[in-house]
């Protein structure tokens, strides 16, 4: 486990105890969709005092963490949730990171006070909707959702898909192309789900991340008042271009995946090591066979490398140099970590044999969940293109 300063350690330990006591026993129920996530999130918020954190961030009353930045704190929570159930972490991240983070970074003071606060304290479930049926990797170029300016606001029309928390959210940040803006401008719109014309599909059934509901959003002439345009209107009376902010959100999302993937690899290593020591075949624990040792050693190596990436983030945050981590680096971190975690989880399944292939085994869940990271937040291919583009521009 990471070597951390005392105050970081105390926070991590507290979140870990919370997850062990309150999340671990409910993982199967969340995975099977037998229990909704919202009561759990409320418990998380109340037990760990997330409302105070949200208040301090929104009202800007001093730095709430003196030494432990909110970003690191979120990383710890994502890490600990992912140790037990990555799907729960994904939904947490969509509310606090994608939705909450975007509002806190670009919202008007009113938007921060209302929606930022509600998302960061888990009072409301948030969603962040960019992807469309025809616009995945080419999210900007192929976007068809349109925002038409009308008296006092905008009217939105279009469909979003594969959106985390869409089936359960209270509010969504919907990205849409602004009609009439010559430069193909895209803007973000904060839409409470009770808005007229806002409907959504049933949660998709999917390979992994089963604890996290994913779905479609349908917008049929949904009116969004000007004050709900993310960041408000510019001097020209038009929304700000959100493309830069969207890229920033994606970069933050990619970085935020590192603690999740690290925790998943840690858990796979623990499960595989314990099993290999206890499982006897040919008269000896399978851990004594070098072919099994090879897999354990590889998973361990992956764990160490992901630790280095996470520590690099913590260090950058601590020195206030997070901005110095380029988009290409965020892409590179995610590209490497996602593939490494999938491989590690598959190796862990291999070590557990049939027991690892059974539904309900931890490594089985980790392997299915790890695959998402090669797709969500931009596919591996798109990360490679981003890295190469930046690399070639520099050289």
């Amino acid at each position: 486990m990471l070597e951390l300063p005392d105050d970081h350690r105390a926070i991590l330990d507290t979140v870990r105890r919370f997850c062990r006591e309150r999340l671990e026993p409910r993982v199967r129920a969340f995975e099977n969709g037998d229990e909704p996530l919202e009561p759990f999130f409320r418990e998380l918020s109340e037990s760990l005092g997330l409302r105070e954190v949200a208040d301090a961030l929104v009202d800007g009353t001093a730095s709430p963490f003196e030494g432990v930045s909110p970003l690191v704190l979120t990383g710890f929570v994502m890490h600990e949730l992912s140790r037990c159930c990555p799907g729960v972490a994904l939904s947490f991240g969509a509310t606090t990171g994608l939705f909450g983070g975007a509002v806190m970074a670009c919202g008007t003071p009113d938007q921060k006070r209302t929606w930022g606060r509600r998302a960061l304290s888990l009072d409301a479930v948030g969603a962040w909707a960019l992807t469309e049926p025809g616009a995945g990797s080419d999210a900007f170029g192929a976007m068809r959702t349109r925002a038409r300016g009308v008296d006092g606001g905008f009217v939105l029309r279009g469909t979003k898909t594969f959106i985390t928390n869409a089936p359960t959210c209270d509010v969504a940040l919907v990205q849409a192309r602004v009609e009439g803006a010559s430069d193909g401008k895209i803007a973000g719109f904060i839409i409470p789900t009770e808005a007229r014309g806002f409907t959504r599909g049933r949660p998709f059934d999917k390979l992994g991340m089963q604890a996290s509901p994913t779905g479609e959003i349908f917008l049929e002439d949904v009116f969004v008042p000007n004050e709900m345009v993310l960041g408000g209107l510019g001097a020209d009376g038009l929304p700000h271009d959100a493309r830069f902010a969207i890229r920033a959100s994606l970069g933050a999302e990619r970085m935020g995946m590192i603690p999740m993937l690290l925790a998943m690899v840690e858990r796979c290593l623990e499960e595989a090591t314990t099993y290999a020591k206890g499982r006897v075949q040919f008269g000896a624990p399978i851990a004594s066979f070098q072919l099994v040792q090879e897999k354990l050693a590889r998973i361990h190596t992956t764990k160490m490398l992901l630790e280095v990436l996470f520590l690099r983030q913590i260090e950058a945050i601590a020195c206030g140099r997070l901005g110095a981590i380029s988009r290409a680096e965020a892409s590179a971190q995610k590209l490497f970590a996602a593939k490494a975690a999938v491989d590690a989880a598959m190796d862990a399944i291999q070590i557990l044999g049939g027991a690892g292939y059974m539904r309900g085994s931890v490594v089985e869940m980790m392997a299915r969940d790890a695959k998402l990271f090669q797709i969500g937040g931009g596919t591996d291919d798109m990360q490679i293109l981003t890295i190469a583009r930046e690399l070639l521009r520099q050289q």
């Binding site: 005392d6 105050d7 105390a10 926070i11 507290t14 979140v15 105890r17 919370f18 006591e21 037990s47 760990l48 005092g49 997330l50 105070e52 954190v53 301090a56 709430p64 963490f65 003196e66 030494g67 432990v68 704190l73």
Partner: protein, 273 residues
């Protein structure tokens, strides 16, 4: 009400590194530590007695946590400060130099300075399981005591009704303050503690979590240090350990042919039936 809670750190039973014995002495290098769970229950009880459950921000009394131990034990004190205790005292000592009696006498010296209304202790520490400090302390102070409390109801600031878990059920004692009370597991059930401030509040089961901001704020709460020799003139422990050894490794199991053989083994070898 002013409450003093002594708190001991114990080796975390989930330690990846098992306890080692080197040359007849316990070797604790590389160990992970945690607060003794029964002491955590005592802190939780103290917090419940000094707050209004409905609005926990308002403190209606003072909770002081105290440990006798090395510098690193401040981590466990900070943990208690993060959950709500007001200040901490550490009496500097190495674990090797202590026994229950020295600890009780050290705490007595602090009690004489602080004059708390109540001392809440865990019924025992899960490392040595000695179950002594509370009783010794009450004796040294000449205070009333109630051990193994499963419920506590405060009667104003003058007395407590303590439900003790005994074999036949619950024995309720009324102790006048100041007193020493040792707590058992059930004290952290949702309605086990009722204070005059919130007689009917239902708490979350178990020991509360520290709010994340409170963990940082705990760094600023007062923590004072005393030397053991400042507090007790004769700091020599009464218990001397001659040696330590690990339990013998477990022998491999055997397979029995049939029930008859099993019964025979249980009766004649294991002698359990």
């Amino acid at each position: 009400m002013k409450i003093l809670v002594p708190l001991k750190r114990v080796a975390d039973p989930d330690n990846a590194n098992k306890v080692k014995v080197t040359a007849g002495k316990l070797d604790t290098t590389g160990m992970q530590w945690k607060p003794n769970p029964f002491d955590e229950y005592a802190v939780e009880t103290a917090l419940r007695l000094t707050e209004n459950g409905a609005s926990t921000k308002v403190r209606l009394g003072e909770v002081i946590v105290l440990t006798v131990g090395p510098k690193e034990a401040e981590t466990q004190l900070r943990g208690a400060l993060a959950t709500g205790a007001d200040r901490a005292i550490r009496i500097d000592a190495t674990d090797d130099d202590l026994d229950g009696d020295v600890v009780a006498r050290a705490i007595r010296a602090v009690v004489e300075k602080e004059k708390p209304d109540l001392i809440l202790v865990g019924k025992q520490a899960v490392d040595g399981d000695s179950n002594q400090v509370g009783q010794l302390l009450a004796e040294y102070l000449g205070w009333p005591q109630a051990t193994f409390a499963g419920t506590i109801k405060s009667e104003g600031d003058t007395a407590l009704l303590v439900g003790r878990e005994v074999d036949g059920g619950t024995l309720t004692l009324r102790v006048t303050l100041p007193a020493v009370v040792s707590v058992d597991l059930r004290i952290v059930a949702p309605t086990s503690v009722s204070s005059k401030h919130s007689p009917t509040h239902t708490y979350a089961d178990g020991v509360r979590f520290a709010a994340l901001m409170a963990i940082m704020a705990a760094k600023k709460k007062p923590m004072v240090e005393f030397k053991l020799s400042e507090l007790v003139s004769d700091a020599a422990a009464k218990i001397a350990y001659t040696t330590h050894e690990l339990p013998p490794p477990r022998k491999a199991g055997i397979k029995v042919k049939d029930v008859a053989e099993l019964v025979d083994k249980l009766r004649n070898e294991a002698r359990v039936v």
